[in-house]
Subunit: 458 residues, 2 copies
């Protein structure tokens, strides 16, 4: 009956050390969300396919994990006339007949569904956070998984740019707590839309931002060639090139853009929003490195205002957090005109950054401060009172579960990286003093229970 | 494009209030697990069907949620000769061809799989806790869901009965922290096996325990009739009846059972284990109501030693926690003879008990202590410094996001059940003193920021 043991590709088991480190990241983010009065919600892992389909583009639909209907799923599917269909077509049609539910792909669409479904119970503006796994049938590769956590905070029902400023505050607080130096890059979709309109190619926003992004790497001449291939040439290029070369202070750039957008209202509005937001951030955020990045576009189509991304300084890694303003997310579920703005922290990438910077706190190495080492049944019993006292003081401890050779018990403590081994023999039982060994330094000395507690808490 | 919004039957959205209450339960359990040096792990939501199938009986197999293979799943399935098959048979066969993964059904089988898969990295005994959702395609009904959390702690690789005693300790600590009065019922599978052997019906363990369980409700005569229907009559009944009527102290009962089991080694071993465990519990657990319950059997077949269940006192509700010893859980994955013992806390039922006893802490009512109420852009900005200070002191706060009528801002605070409204106008900005209103009592007075912090922390 022996079986090989494995898990589906693209999924992961998390060991105790990984879990403690992940809990540290999640708790840091959760605390910042909660202190800013974002409220927790959770939604089911499974959503109706009608909720999910068509929200992530054609490519996204293909990446949904679908749940086979329970019971005799074939009963409903049989009888459909698909014998004449192409195999691929048949798979799609059959899939729709035998599956009604899918695993959530992100937390944003379930949140939009939640807001609409519970709109009569919600007080607007509604600030919510949600930290749950999502699933995507992506091709697994380094750093990309089929199951991963998202940590999202969004607010719907307020158009105030103070909301965006608060997200910047939270970015500053999360990464200060995690000791990761970051840069917050900010842009505004209306500026990009204005720029595309200004150069006469309103449908080429993405191509234009790609051009801006590549400038530092390949130079203006090479960008000109690439742009020409995309159909941005002649007048359009002559209008775009000076923007690509724009340098100066934030205020100087704003003056320039206002001039540029004299006849482009959407661009002017984007500039005004950006200036207002930068003013708020200056008022309420301390110690954050932030900048306007004209090349920042972000992929998702639903953003309509501010967009932002966070990059870790000194680490080669994609953005570790990002978000933006969307004017009409719940419209797809029939609730129009509810503006939202949100941010998502990427726990997996933050984990990788902390690992490469070696910034995980050392005390995450072990889940336990003390192992009681004992010599027989009498000592095993005697140690119970001491353990109760330590635990009442918030100190995780254990005793080796059965009498065993000293060497074996110490080896156990070593493997679990437990910092303190406390020996309990006849003498200790009589005197109430314990012989405590610091397994990191090798130092050993006698102390009573209170001294042990103080030492563990240090 | 408007859509109706709903979620799959048997699943739930959790609102902020429900979430805070659930987090309170989970954190209480997690802290107890961690203080006892159980280590956290997580496993993927999806397991290979080969890992899950055949582990929960035929009925359990049917309750697994299966994931449709990605891509052109039909390509592999087409061509199979199922046109001659019955529809039901065809569904099973087709299901196996188009699905290779399923959602986990519990945390025990994934844990067994984890132990075997990572055996070279584990230090035995391995104490792990795991708190994750599981999914079952059960018929939804009151109190039974298709997605629910399990909170499990297990230890493998130690046969010491101190492990069982520690689980009793954790039961005591969890429910003391949650302020739920409970009774821990303990039995031993070997005693039940011994009893069945003693009356000459070794395959009737379940029928016998059902009889014992019903005695109080229907009386000895009615039980005799029911037992006869199950084939336990004549000599077997004459041997069983006195055990059903067994009364007296724990010690007296043990003496009686030892006599009964003079020729039944497995029964004697069960009695010895129970006595040893009760001795340990007396040494290490304070303030727990626990008892030997001969009628306790628990359904799962893999238990082989101690079994236990926790009942909330004064509430009509099934067990809110349960577990036991299993001698060979990892054997199904080819790793023989690794003894384990574990306990599972039922978060949903604990939630219902806390609700019916009205024992949720009052401060879970709101996620936020303070709302700053302001009159215009100047005050909105001025309030930022105060909010930073409150948050640095661990106090969740917010300001109404835009200038609005006082009434609207107060209504918002009321709806979110925020205890303190702090008014910030021109006078407050000039003097540094705030007008603070306790929205529960209606009391209002002036104070500075330090007084506000002290009041919030009280």
């Amino acid at each position: 009956m022996a079986q090989t043991t494995s898990i589906p590709k693209g999924t992961r088991d998390f060991s105790p050390l990984q879990m403690r480190r992940r809990q540290y990241i999640f708790e840091t983010i959760r605390q910042v969300f909660a202190l800013h009065a974002y409220l927790p919600i959770e939604t089911p892992a499974m959503e109706n396919l009608s909720t999910l389909m068509g929200k992530y583009g054609e490519e996204g639909d293909k990446l949904l994990f679908k749940i086979l209907n329970s019971g005799d799923f074939w009963a409903k599917a049989a009888g459909t006339a698909w014998d004449g269909l192409e195999p691929g077509e048949r798979a799609v049609k059959l899939g729709n007949r035998i599956s009604e539910k899918g695993l959530r792909y992100d937390l944003t669409v379930p949140f939009a569904r939640y807001v609409v479904q519970h709109r009569n119970d919600l007080t607007l503006p509604f600030k919510r956070y949600q930290m749950q796994p999502v699933w995507r049938a992506d091709r697994p590769q380094r750093g990309r998984y089929r199951e991963f956590y998202q940590c999202d905070a969004d607010v719907v029902g307020s158009t105030s740019l103070w909301q965006e400023a608060e997200l910047a505050q939270m970015v500053a607080e999360v990464f200060a707590a995690l000791q990761i130096p970051v840069t917050l890059k900010i842009n505004n979709r209306k500026i990009l839309a204005g720029l595309a309109e200004y150069v006469g190619c309103p449908d080429k926003i993405v191509d234009i931002t790609v051009a801006i992004d590549k400038l530092d790497k390949i130079g203006l001449d090479a960008v000109e060639v690439e742009m020409a291939e995309k159909g941005i040439a002649g007048d359009a290029w002559r209008k775009l090139a000076p923007v690509l070369e724009l340098r100066g202070s934030f205020a100087e750039k704003m003056v320039y853009m206002r001039g540029l957008f004299a006849q482009v209202p959407v661009g002017l509005q984007g500039v005004a929003e950006l200036e207002e937001l930068f003013g708020y951030i200056a008022q309420c955020v301390e110690g954050l490195d932030y900048e306007w990045d004209l090349s920042l576009a972000r992929g998702l189509n639903y953003y309509t205002g501010a967009i932002f991304e966070v990059k870790a300084q000194g680490v080669e890694m994609g953005s570790i957090s990002g978000g933006g303003r969307y004017d009409d997310l719940t419209g797809i579920f029939g609730m129009k005109g509810l503006s939202g703005v949100g941010i998502s922290f990427g726990a997996d990438r933050i984990y990788d950054v902390l690992e490469s910077l070696n910034r995980f706190p050392a005390d995450l190495q072990s889940g336990q401060a003390v192992l009681f080492i004992h010599f027989g049944p009498e000592e095993a019993a005697a140690v119970q009172a001491a353990m109760r006292t330590l635990r009442a003081n918030g100190i995780a401890c254990d005793r080796y579960p059965e009498p065993a050779k000293l060497q074996k018990q110490f080896a156990y403590a070593d493997k679990l990286r437990i910092p303190f081994a406390v020996m309990v023999g006849e003498r200790e039982r009589e005197t109430g003093r314990f012989s405590v060994k610091d397994l990191r330094s090798g130092e050993q000395r006698d102390m009573d229970l209170n001294e042990l507690i103080v030492m563990c808490k240090r």
